[in-house]
């Protein structure tokens, strides 16, 4: 990978969204969302379908007018600026390549609209195609290309206009898994080499984590949390983020004792400890989250750390998935189903359904929220 263009410190953000709101009849699709994206960075908006992320993106592109707030791109307010006059281009969900044109004509389309002379725009289109690894493909029809090549044409078509901001609306959604993995990498490399600010929306948390410098997790029209992928994963701000980003075990119960940051939880007879996040009153209903890889497995309590509280359960099934293999077990007291990662040593590969196992975890790595706050 070529070294990325560093985000220019102190430069004004390329995108500044200020308390943008959009209502459709009684439903508030986007509710006073504010965030800014630094120049040259890769920003993702992650959320389940219907969370308002598409509406937000379409407002940035200019296809929808916000009911309130302002969108500032490259230091200029975009209020009442139509989509064809914004320094923003978009890669559509199904790419929206023009089937009536050749690949080169697709890439040259925007240049033609700007009045660039024919010879010059063909030259620039060809140079851009070369840059995305499609040298010589200019004469092809769009349906002669593979899924990955089509995506590169869609990006080339936008990048040839040198936009301040490139918006991407789940462009990987229509691809099959293998190609998606490949294109994820390619997208990251393209962003690195162009150094353009990318705003990417997706419902796939793995895409958001792998690609982004910063991610906004969106739910019910507002941002639950805005942070780096690491922040979202290791210290989720809300129960929703904890449940949505990465695999997690959700344990509901009651806070029976509070000790500073530590909460003692009773979940149907199972007593466990977790780190408190937000205010929790004694006796309040809580939801705790424990990542599969945060727990350690053992056949007997003796195999586990002496300093941690041991727990036990009965194996329901072994779910083998290479490096992501987990054991599905039923906790002894509560009957709760938990997923715990198998160590890569293959030590527990022979576990059978019905076997009793022990596990423990660092309470610092289990996070507890007041229940009902996860929407």
């Amino acid at each position: 990978m070529t070294p990325r263009a560093p985000a220019v410190a102190g430069a004004p953000p390329d995108l500044d969204v200020q308390a943008v709101t959009k209502r459709f009849a009684a439903h508030t699709a986007v509710d006073a969302v504010s965030f800014s994206v630094a120049r040259g960075s890769f920003f993702s908006i992650l959320g389940p379908s219907g969370c308002g992320k598409t509406t937000l993106l379409r407002m940035i592109a200019g296809f929808i007018q916000p009911d309130g707030g302002d969108i500032v791109i490259g230091g200029r307010s975009m209020a009442r600026v139509p989509p064809n006059r914004r320094p923003v281009n978009m890669v559509f969900q199904h790419l929206a390549l023009f089937p009536m044109m050749s690949v080169a004509q697709n890439v040259a389309f925007g240049l033609a609209r700007r009045g660039v002379a024919r010879a010059e725009r063909l030259r620039r289109a060809e140079a851009m195609l070369e840059r995305v690894g499609l040298a010589g493909a200019g004469g092809k029809r769009t349906d002669e290309l593979s899924g990955g090549q089509r995506q590169r044409v869609a990006i080339a078509r936008s990048m040839v206009l040198e936009p301040t901001l490139l918006l991407l609306d789940e462009p990987l959604g229509a691809l099959d898994l293998k190609l998606r993995e490949h294109m994820k990498l390619e997208l990251k490399q393209l962003q690195n080499s162009f150094g353009t600010t990318f705003v990417y929306i997706t419902h796939d948390q793995s895409e958001a984590l792998v690609l982004s410098d910063h991610v906004g997790v969106m739910n019910h029209g507002h941002f639950e949390q805005l942070g780096t992928p690491q922040e979202l994963y290791y210290s989720p701000a809300t129960a929703f983020v904890a449940g949505f980003v990465g695999a997690n075990n959700r344990i509901t119960g009651k806070a029976v004792a509070l000790d500073g940051e530590r909460v003692e939880i009773d979940s149907g007879g199972w007593r466990l400890q977790a780190r408190r996040r937000g205010s929790i009153g004694a006796g309040a209903a809580v939801a705790a989250f424990l990542r599969p890889e945060a727990a350690t497995l053992g056949r007997t309590p003796a195999e586990l750390s002496a300093e941690r509280r041991p727990h036990s359960g009965e194996v329901i099934a072994l779910l083998f998935d290479g490096a992501n293999s987990v054991v599905l077990l039923r906790e002894a007291h509560s009957g709760l189903e938990l997923r715990i990662a198998l160590p890569q040593t293959g030590a527990f590969a022979d576990l059978e359904a019905g076997a009793r196992v022990c596990f423990d975890f660092d309470p610092e790595r289990a996070i507890c929220f007041a229940a009902g706050a996860d929407g």
Binding site: A61, F63, P82, P83, N84, R85, V88, N89, M90, F92, Q93, H94, A96, F98, P99, M100, M101, F109, G110, R113, R114, R157, S158, L161
Partner: protein, 294 residues
């Protein structure tokens, strides 16, 4: 076993033949046979009562008689003009139905286009006459509004014929246009705007190329209907209409000169064939693609 297979195949062929029989009967009985007969009639000349000789006299008459020529060219040009006007009027309607209206509204708009066809063409055209004749509704309104001193005669003008033809043809243009516009992915239009397109360039670069088969299909149908229309030009244009079908009618019915009528009929068929071929060539469309859209 082999016998069975042969019989099964035989049955299938018989079934296919039976299923196709009505269509083939219609094709041969009502289209091919009369045309063969007309061709024969057009290529003979009556030399004495009940005595005919093979001759090209009818076709010679057509080329030597300026009136026929004049009417022939006029009909072709007026039909082309009517087709173009129909396209201009139908396109916004089709765009509204296909892209702007939703669900019930879209269906309702379609029905509005269809309603005129619930009455016969004669009644429809007479409706225009009631509206436009000197003592009709529109001239009275014009006088009432002070826009004209005398009730003007709005019938028997070329413009009146065109209005009537566009009105009659509108649905046949709207239907293929709606079909081809509905299949246009909205994100293509958005992408074109996003890349800096304006209304006109998006229409020219994206919408029209996509809708081209539908446009061509609509134009072919409307042109052929207009060229072969008899009632609308005759009623709205009166003696001035000078429509080619009227000439054919006159030869067959008034003059009882079947030979000349048949020859003119064939020339009209040739004209519409040539014009359709020209239209396809100019617009770069393939006939089979276009016909799938109608």
């Amino acid at each position: 076993m082999a016998d069975n297979a042969v019989t099964a195949a035989g049955y299938r062929r018989l079934l296919l033949a039976l299923l196709l029989a009505p269509a083939l009967l219609w094709l041969f009985g009502l289209i091919v046979l009369p045309h063969v007969d007309l061709a024969i009639i057009s290529l003979r000349e009556r030399v004495a009562p009940r005595q005919y000789v093979a001759s090209l006299a009818q076709y010679r008459t057509f080329f030597s008689e300026p009136l026929y020529w004049h009417v022939f060219v006029r009909t072709a040009l007026m039909s082309a003009l009517a087709t173009a006007l129909t396209l201009l009027v139908a396109f916004p309607i089709a765009w509204t139905i296909a892209k702007l209206a939703r669900g019930r509204t879209s269906a309702l708009l379609f029905v509005v286009c269809l309603i005129p066809f619930w009455v016969s063409e004669t009644v429809r055209t007479l409706g225009w006459m009631i509206l436009l004749r000197e003592s009709g509704v529109l001239p009275s309104v014009l006088v009432h509004l002070g826009l004209a001193a005398q009730p003007p005669e709005l019938l028997y003008h070329d413009a009146t014929i065109l209005v009537g033809l566009v009105y009659t043809s509108l649905l046949f243009m709207v239907v293929p246009l709606v079909g081809s516009l509905e299949s246009l992915d909205n994100s293509l239009i958005e992408a074109a705007y996003d890349l800096g397109g304006q209304g006109w360039s998006v229409l020219r670069e994206i919408v029209i190329p996509h809708a081209a088969p539908g446009i061509t299909a609509g134009c072919i149908v409307v042109f052929m209907l207009t060229l072969g229309n008899y009632l609308t030009p005759t009623l709205l244009g009166g003696k001035n209409s000078l429509w080619f079908t009227e000439q054919i009618y006159n030869q067959f019915i008034t003059r009882f000169n079947w030979e000349q009528g048949a020859a003119l009929g064939f020339l009209l068929l040739a004209l519409s064939t040539v014009m359709v071929w020209l239209g396809l060539t100019v617009s770069g469309q393939r006939f089979s693609d276009v016909m799938r859209r109608t």
